[in-house]
Symmetry: C2
Subunit: 330 residues, 2 copies
């Protein structure tokens, strides 16, 4: 008996064809990707700010509905937001994709969506790995991870330490669930549910759920240009509460009053998801919270085109008290 790699479940020819196309697209054929960064010499105290993440089980919903074309934006934007909230300028992105089988059209759609999302933002796609692992991923399954590296001047890093009593909390709208809470959603709904047109959403539930993660890079740039931003929180797993808590210093409290959540969230709640759990898992319509000096409140709400809400304020507080308080107005 002799076994070839193909017989073992890994199709090298398909792997090489995809790798070849990607190499042509990405301009790399060596072991690592090269990015000249002459601009780093202009920083007094350069700090590399990096992050790695996936898009959770949104991959499974996209596979089920055969709509993987938004996953590139999901992955890239999630990562970009995670370092942009610290004031970093993104430099390079790397992606890891692993599939049960490398099916060329699907792999190419995903890679193209990653490359496009990087290109739009001017970020170098410095490398990627595309793996076929039938022993790890079940029939039709795949996963993706992305890593991002950016740079900031040390003195310009935003980490919440400048937050003070009297600051205002501004909330920028999300485009949907972004990339969190999809395991919970998929426990509740069936494929028929995803494919049904929902009048309240103006599209199918599946389409609303697969809306890509919004990118806040430009909005953050607008905010940072005011020199009045004291902290930025990307609202991912853990919800507004869990993520805002990461940046509010001890001794201060953020009191948050959320605007009525968009129809998608009401639909999820009406399907039986517990409202408390929803707030711990979903962004509830707010994907980014900026803690700013009160002076820029009107300027920010005017200049940020994607929807900006005044959510509350920062007050002095007992050190042992909760740092974030969500008011239950709805």
């Amino acid at each position: 008996m002799t076994l070839s790699y193909r017989e073992a479940g890994v199709d090298l020819a398909v792997a090489e064809r995809i790798a070849g196309r990607l190499a042509a697209r990405l301009g790399t054929g060596l072991f690592g990707g090269f990015l000249p960064v002459p601009e780093l010499r202009e920083y007094d105290e350069p700090v590399l700010i990096s992050s790695i993440d996936g898009v959770g089980t949104k991959v499974r919903l996209a596979a089920l509905l055969d709509r993987p074309g938004g996953l590139g934006e999901d992955l890239v934007h999630h990562c970009v937001n995670d370092i942009a909230v610290h004031g970093a300028r993104p430099l390079l992105f790397l992606d890891y994709l692993a599939f049960h089988r490398l099916e060329a059209p699907r792999v190419e759609r995903i890679v193209a969506s990653i490359a496009d999302a990087c290109s739009v933002l001017g970020i170098a796609l410095a490398g990627g790995e595309t793996a076929e692992m039938p022993l790890v991923y079940g029939e039709g399954s795949f996963d993706m991870a992305g890593a991002i590296v950016g740079v900031a001047e040390r003195s310009a890093i935003v980490d919440g330490s400048a937050i003070r009593a009297g600051d205002v909390l501004l909330g920028l709208e999300s485009s949907g669930l972004h990339t969190n809470g999809y395991s919970l959603v998929q426990r509740v709904f069936s494929e028929a549910d995803y494919r049904r047109y929902e009048p309240a959403l103006g599209r199918t539930l599946g389409e609303a759920l697969l809306e890509p993660h919004r990118c806040y890079l430009q909005d953050i740039g607008t905010l940072l240009a005011t020199d009045a931003v004291h902290g930025l929180a990307h609202i991912t797993g853990g919800g507004i509460d869990g993520n805002l808590e990461r940046i509010v210093p001890t001794g201060l409290q953020a009191t948050v009053s959320l605007p009525p959540p968009p129809p998608l969230f009401a639909l999820l709640e009406s399907a039986g998801i517990d409202s408390g759990e929803m707030r711990r898992v979903f962004n509830m319509g707010i994907g980014l919270v900026a803690v700013c000096d009160r002076s820029i409140q009107s300027l920010a709400t005017e200049r940020l085109p994607g929807g900006c809400h005044v959510l509350g304020e920062i007050t002095q507080n007992d050190e042992s008290a909760r740092r974030v308080m969500i008011r239950d107005d709805h």
Copy 2:
């Protein structure tokens, strides 16, 4: 009906406990990891060199035998080698881990092994994501990806373009299969095979297969200090042929004569894996090939403690000819 996140298959409490322990270990709690890099100001033309990769289906073998403790070295060393072959000094590493279930002891062993491997090499573990995705990963399954970023002076980048006729090919021994060919291996052997003591290996087959990927960072440093290195190839998927081809310039040919492969490879071949396929998939006992000026041949074979073989040489060749020729001596 109401559903909590736990009921949907994601145990937030376990997730938070692991995240908390990791945060304490890694010193991060924000959205991105910070790494001050004042040394970048000392480069005339700094180039960031980066790579992302997984360890293939070695994860499944480690899961099957409940021995995940070497996977950290596998992941970190694979990535380190991929940028070290270009002359990069590694700066930071990021890891992505995704599991069917977050079982604390296993997750912690893997994360500890990643952190330890980074620590030994002086690389900052700048961030990590640990995801529980029962909808994507089958019972007991998990996957891992790692991203690495390093820096090199532009003029000191090693990419094979300096390779010339008369250069000698030096091969550094591998520690086993490293992280390639595990799908093929697992098609041939059963759990009983892995657990059986193999006299020729001095241990079980499973132990030999799970031997971590060797790190060549120090050896590469020794070689680069001679100023006689013209190209370095990390032997991963594609074998010696496929990886050496990446760095040998058109118009030259590398003629390679391999030393007898270590017993592990003979055992794999005797189990029925085709020998031609083995050479395209496995490293055949050589994990790194250095193409160097002939003057350092004796110095290199003396100074590199882990086993260094003279594999062959570079000759002038017709531009249309194959750039790598493996002599079939065994």
